[in-house]
Point group: C2
Chain length 404, copies 2
């Protein structure tokens, strides 16, 4: 029997305990061993939970228990989650986590610490909720050079954008609806401003290119400026609008960014709706492949945490088990965002001579009139060139959205 401790008995933490209990039979069948929750750390008590008796308020009850070999950290936030993780790894316990904040900020150090102590640090649930993506990138794509990753990594914003496109509703109205349904938090900033997606794309960039960028240092634009007119414009061009985490190499350096993108409906990401996530990986031999599923929610995310626990139990006592490897990026590892060019959709206030003015700057580029706007799709432009081109048109610019 393998004993596990859970740090943080919130949504995912209690979900992991439930998956281990409810799916005990299939886990034992797949693993040939029993995995049991021995202790749960939380500030609260849970007298009504079947796991209530396992709760402790003292981390040392877990850290000093030699029978606990695996710790599942699902506390959220950097501290004390990072500190507890470090202590567990140093004490020879493997750690699994759903905490993207800790992985994005301290993942390189924690992986190194795990390797040094002959234990493991796994974080399948930190990106894409329950969708298998970390392990497939480390194992199945090991025969490929990664070219790029484009991901719909945040369910809350994808729900909002889907409603805006499907129902023509305004951002504000849909946000209120999402909050009422529990899809968005009362303070939705981390989701709608893109920070949650930034942490996730930074993790995927590290797996792809070996460098862990600082999620606070990458270009990050949320969806708060997307209007129902932008959604209409996208539809006019046969596109969808999604919040996309993007990473690729630019001149050998790592670019990672988060921004809304207009995506042609032929791209499989365009069909990823509601709270679903989709991660499209382009690899040099495999080409494009997509991983799709529930990017959040209690049982899906918990099942990814438990998959990591199973992975650790299955390889216990073995040396040199494969682990993701990446190092903290130095300033020199960051690509020059100014050199990165994308196609764009510019929307201007429409006037009688607007089409002419646009033609002078953008030639025969595709245009569409949507309500009181006229929109045009440009060739790939850098930030600076895009601003200059838009200014040169001589019309009031109302929106500028990157294309994928």
């Amino acid at each position: 029997m393998v004993n596990v401790a859970i740090l943080g008995f919130g949504v995912v933490g209690s979900g992991a305990a439930e998956v281990l209990t409810d799916n005990r039979r299939v886990i034992e069948k797949n693993l040939g061993k029993t995995v049991a929750v021995k202790r749960i750390l939380d500030l609260r008590d849970f007298p009504d939970s079947p796991f209530g008796a396992l709760v402790t308020h003292d981390f040392n009850d877990i850290l000093n228990d030699p029978e606990i070999s695996i710790v599942a950290e699902m506390m959220g936030g950097s501290h004390p989650a990072y500190d507890f993780t470090k202590a567990c790894l140093e004490a020879g316990k493997s750690v699994v986590t759903s905490n993207k904040e800790v992985v994005a900020n301290f993942g390189a150090e924690l992986l190194e610490l795990a390797a040094k102590n002959g234990v493991r640090y796994l974080f399948e649930a930190s990106v894409g909720g329950g969708i298998p993506i970390i392990r497939p990138m480390v194992n199945d794509l090991a025969s490929n050079e990664i070219i790029s990753v484009n991901g719909i990594l945040n369910g809350t914003t994808n729900y909002i954008l889907t409603k805006m496109l499907d129902e023509g509703a305004s951002y504000e109205d849909v946000l209120k609806d999402a909050q009422a349904k529990g899809y968005a938090e009362r303070n939705p900033a981390a989701d709608v401003e893109g920070l949650d997606a930034a942490r996730k794309i930074v993790i995927l960039a590290a797996l792809s290119f070996g460098k862990l960028l600082n999620p606070n240092k990458i270009y990050c634009e949320g969806i708060t400026k997307i209007s129902s007119e932008d959604a209409e414009t996208a539809k006019a061009f046969g596109c969808s609008v999604k919040l996309i985490g993007h990473t690729e190499l630019v001149d050998g350096k790592v670019l990672a960014m988060v921004s809304p993108r207009m995506i042609p409906c032929s791209n499989p990401l365009a069909g990823v709706s509601d709270v679903f996530n989709g991660i499209l990986v382009d690899a040099n031999m495999l080409g494009e492949c997509m991983f799709y599923g529930k990017g959040a929610g209690k049982p899906p995310t918990a099942s990814a945490v438990v998959a990591d626990i199973i992975d650790i139990v299955a390889h216990m006592g073995q040396d040199g088990v494969r682990a993701p490897k990446f190092e903290v990026a130095t300033d020199a590892d960051y690509a020059d965002f100014g050199a990165y060019a994308t196609k764009r959709c510019f929307s201007f206030a429409n006037t009688v001579d607007a089409a002419d003015k646009i033609h002078k700057v953008f030639g025969d580029a595709l245009t569409a009139v949507v309500g009181e706007r006229i929109a045009v799709i440009s060739e790939a432009l850098t930030e600076k060139d895009a601003a200059e081109a838009a200014a040169k048109v001589g019309l009031a610019l109302v929106s500028s959205i990157r294309m994928l």
Copy 2:
């Protein structure tokens, strides 16, 4: 350095040699070891290939070479592929393969033989070409009970059906076009009659439910009877038509089948077009997740073969590495196909009183008039009930397609 031998220097075999060579740098980085092709078995010579000097016509040159620890079988067909695989495993060599015929027919026996000899038998490339699906099912979904798998598993038929739907072309014309483009073989029977998909769904069923069914004993219906009118009808109901491999448990026994299905466009499989494959897995905690990508082709399939080689090298010398486990199904393991019910789309020759006649049998079910047909979507019906209901209508039945 780890030495690999390749059995069969066809499309996938030569692709594997190329992936190992062209991606040598990233493989070494990910693995910390060098993997080299030492020998290639083929009946032919390849004097113009950079690998030509490695070719042998004698299998014993590989079997008896103690320096070769991994053999990649990409010969196709059951014999001698199965026999060579068996000999290699018995000689203590691990085997990887893209050969779905061998896995579907002999996989249980070969996995057992591998375990007995302390080596491994991996077959990521046998389903979904380059798409990671086998390893994710074994590892990432180990915390879940699998409820069902629905897969677009054959690129040739998906290309044909996509063209029929998008362009209204006839089956015969699109097949000719697909043959001209190299997407379909001159004898396309294994693809269009569904046997290729049957072998693959049998493998996925074994991973899901632990029983390896005989691909020749499951219900298998190809796409040869699908007409451009069927495609039109599907569009009228907001659906797509796909050849679907399906598996689930019915009364605790394994159902696996291949048939065309009408799929509502809200289902992510509906958007899987052209030669792409998509595999939608429904698991009890994770819910639905989809794996999408290139299901065939030289570099994608070869990259999956090489991923298996990397997996073996990474875990060399370790005991108890996790492996898929399933056993040959007995007659008692097969679900009763007669008890399996699905919604259906019936198309009848339209007449002035057709709507009334349909209403009498199917009540207020959704109908659509398409050309000279009238179509109706039924509730879930077994084979027998479907035939009876259609006969009771008293119109000429022109087509009956299952829904997903």
